[in-house]
Amino acid sequence: MTTSASGKAPTDDPVAAFFDELARRGYEPLLRKVSGRVRFDLVDGSNLEPRLVVIDKGKLTVTGDSAEAECTIRGELPVFKELVSGRRNFVAAVLRGALACQGDLELMFAIQRIFPAPPRGWDPTADTRSG
């Protein structure tokens, strides 16, 4: 049912691993009410690698397809690395401009649930926060 994402990225790449795992998972209960197409555009220098996530009431298909989507989410690879390790918050990244979202924002709020929780006790700006 699912197709493996394109194998361009090295296997130790956590971002590739994340999407591969998502493809293997095949179903995500947190998206059981959701249907739609979300394309993540991973920017790595001058390379742009798409990951198209097609959701059908929680059923997931992940491909390296650059097809049209109702919602596109574009960001630099290091940003995605932090997202897939739970060390960056998706919504904050959008407000910050580190992720550029276009299209259906409801889909955006739904899809951000697939990213993992941060490590316990994680405080993203404990050292640098003012005030």
């Binding site: 401009g97 580190a98 550029a100 005030g131």
Partner: protein, 694 residues
């Protein structure tokens, strides 16, 4: 909020200026043009021939529009003005301002008209806490516009200023060199457009797909038809007829303020939910949005539907200690500013509230009872189940079967995660403060109500009788334990909380009224609870105090320790009514509504808890926000309570118990699953004679 300021707003975009229409913000005061929690304009000063103007009058035409009548010259010395200046400003996406200069002289006049403009792009949190900016500024003065920009890493915000009449732009503003003929008028239209996130995020009601907007597109964006929108809103609300002028005025003020406080999250299309208050809280709050939606249900159900959908979309799904997030938890507060974007504040969103999650289920059930909208209850089944699951799986921090709270974000999280959220709001009789976790009593009431209502939805809509039976069993068990564990035997009321050792935090508070509302109180205890609420220690004649006189921390102007909160009282009156204390509910309603007269129909967040016989008028507590959503909603809930409006299947029961001061009252076209129904009542409760049940 400083006095004499003129505030206009549209959703989370608002402008606060002085009576001249000028903005000269200092880093710490909330004047300026704000949107999405960011100040987009901190300076906006009009001069004519180098002189500041003097205000003759300033009118708030509508909540989104103001007009300023001005003459040149400053100070009290009488100026024989041959010029008048009229500024008319409407807020939309940014704001639009029409500046008109009238020459009353027989001779033409040459003028240099200038507007100084600047923006500090402060986050509202920075304005509150006076923090320094970390990014860099840029200004671009072009042929047709002045662009103010702020950038920090990938974070960008900008303000674009343009004019319909020719002018010269420089980096600090714009200048018109004009000649106005005798008895002629010169006008220009100024547009201040804001931009967040470059091209990515559109404002409500705006198509967000397609090409990035150019600056030209941006400044041409139309302001929505606010006038038609407000007229439609007032038109659709039930019509109130009664003999009491105060109530008529307060009702109208509430409807208009509620319209002003509507906020469309970016995912809600043209739908809106109540934001919490102007100016600091023009955003989605779990608790405030839910309480206000409950208050407004008999008048408009759209706020509740949007609140349920939007809070559901953002329901917690993971354990995140920085955001105090758990799976199933309903958010406390959402923010969009720079500090949130850089994760220096946890509001993307922040989940540190212990009451919004059970209240979410309460609102869903109450919404269905009024509207019959089973579709939405089906659509939100998983969210409601996750919320109910949160109560037992994540909120029972002490393993004693009660909801309690203790923040996991010790730095920027909230210490008190109940509505009385100030540092000293939960105290023992002797004034000492309990440690954490704290299990405040009203949370247990909300949890009980959520389980009872969740059971009804499970049985009648989700078709899951086993789950319904399980929830009912849990609710009954909770009620039994609660009435034993929280009951202060030597005072005959419920303790405000259990502390970390399970010991009663034993002061007498208004929270007892919320317990009546939730239904958790044993029938055998209700009468003494009601007697306390209407007794001298809590009831002042104007309303019920947050904390009873005689408690160590009691202070008639203590934020949660003695002031009267109209929102609190509206739910207490509903609770009194629920247990059959109709006359007592009418007394509370009459007190607060009479107080509203002294605030021109706009009830404040809180007012002083002095005895009515002592002050003759309600003493306003200096509050941060006005209007405030749940104060705005209070008169609506009082109307419901006094008329005894209660959905019963496809019917609406009307069982009025009105204070005599009201005389005759009609509420026409109450919307619901029955279509439209009229309710009538006549004042018969002599509120001067009711002193609580005996």
């Amino acid at each position: 909020m400083s006095d004499g300021m003129v505030k206009i707003l549209n959703g989370n975009t608002f402008v606060v200026s002085d009576v001249r229409g000028d903005i000269e913000a200092s880093p710490s005061d909330p004047t300026g043009l704000f949107s999405f929690d960011t100040r987009f304009l901190s300076k906006w000063v009009l001069t004519v021939n180098g002189d500041r103007l003097m205000s003759l009058s300033a009118d708030d035409l509508q909540y989104y529009e103001a007009r300023f009548f001005l003459v040149p010259g400053v100070g009290s010395v009488y100026v024989n003005a041959t010029l008048s200046v009229i500024r008319q400003r409407s807020v939309g996406n940014g704001f639009h301002e029409e500046v008109a200069i009238l020459n009353h002289d027989d001779a033409p006049v040459d003028l240099t008209v200038r507007i100084e403009a600047d923006s500090d792009f402060a986050d509202l949190f920075e304005v509150k806490d006076t923090l320094q900016k970390k990014g860099s500024y840029a200004r671009q003065a072009g042929e047709g516009s002045l662009l103010l920009k702020y950038r920090r890493d990938t974070y960008e915000r900008s303000t674009a200023i343009s004019s319909s009449e020719p002018c010269s732009f420089d980096e600090d503003g714009l200048t018109f060199s004009i000649t106005i003929g005798p008895h002629e008028t010169w006008t220009t239209g100024l547009d201040v457009a804001i931009e967040m996130l470059g091209q990515q995020i559109g404002e409500p009601e705006q198509e967000i797909e397609g090409a990035p907007r150019s600056l030209a597109d941006q400044v041409k964006r139309p302001i929505p038809d606010m006038a038609r929108n407000l007229a439609g809103w007032l038109d659709e609300a039930p019509q109130l007829e009664c003999d009491w002028e105060t109530l008529l005025g307060t009702y109208r003020r509430s409807l208009i303020d509620l319209a002003a406080l509507r906020f469309s999250p970016m995912t809600a299309g043209s739908h809106s939910l109540p934001a919490a208050g102007l100016p600091w809280f023009m955003t989605m709050f779990g608790r405030d949005s839910i309480f206000t939606s409950l208050q407004a249900l008999p008048f408009t159900s759209e706020l509740a539907a949007t609140t349920l959908r939007e809070l559901g979309l953002r329901q917690g799904t993971r354990i995140d200690d920085f955001r105090d997030e758990d799976p199933g938890r309903i958010l406390h507060e959402m923010r969009y500013g720079e500090m949130t974007a850089f994760e220096e504040r946890p509001h993307s969103p922040y989940f540190g509230t212990a009451d919004a999650t059970p209240l979410y289920v309460v609102l869903l059930d109450e919404y269905e009872r009024w509207t019959g909208d089973r579709e939405l209850v089906l659509e939100l089944e998983y969210e409601a189940r996750a919320a109910l699951h949160w109560i037992d799986a994540y909120a029972d921090l002490q393993g004693n079967g009660y909801i309690s709270y203790r923040r996991r974000n010790a730095e920027t999280g909230l210490e008190n995660q109940c509505w009385k959220d100030s540092w000293d709001s939960i105290s023992y009789r002797d004034g000492t403060l309990p440690g954490f976790p704290r299990a405040t009593c009203e949370l247990q009431g909300y949890a009980y109500d959520a389980k009872v209502r969740g059971a009804r939805l499970a049985r009648e809509v989700w078709n899951d009788p086993d789950y319904a039976a399980e929830l009912e069993k849990q609710a009954a068990d909770l009620k039994r334990r609660f009435n034993h564990d929280f009951w202060v035997a030597d005072g005959e009321y419920f303790a405000i909380a259990l502390d970390a050792d399970g010991r009663q935090v034993d002061s007498l508070t208004s929270n007892n009224g919320h317990l009546l509302w939730s239904g958790i109180v044993d029938e055998s205890k209700a009468k003494t609870v009601a007697a306390h609420l209407l007794g001298d220690r809590l009831f002042t004649g104007w309303g019920i105090r947050t904390l009873a006189e005689g408690e160590s921390r009691y202070n008639p102007i203590g934020y949660h320790n003695g002031t009267i909160w109209p929102f609190d009282n509206s739910f207490i009156a509903w609770g009194l009514r629920r247990y059959g204390f109709k006359d007592e509910a009418a007394v509370v309603a009459a007190g607060i509504l009479e107080a509203s007269r002294y605030f021109d129909g706009r009830l404040p967040e809180a007012f002083g808890g002095y005895p009515r016989s002592m002050t003759k008028y309600p003493v306003q507590y200096p509050t941060a926000c006005s209007p405030q959503a749940w104060s705005t909603g209070a008169p609506l809930l009082f109307l419901r309570t006094m008329l005894g409006l209660e959905p019963l299947g496809d019917h609406l029961v009307v069982d009025p118990a009105l204070p005599t001061s009201i005389g005759r009252l009609e509420l026409l076209d109450i919307p619901g699953r029955w279509g439209l129904i009229d309710a009538f009542g006549r004042g018969r409760v002599d509120t001067s004679r009711v002193t609580g049940p005996r």
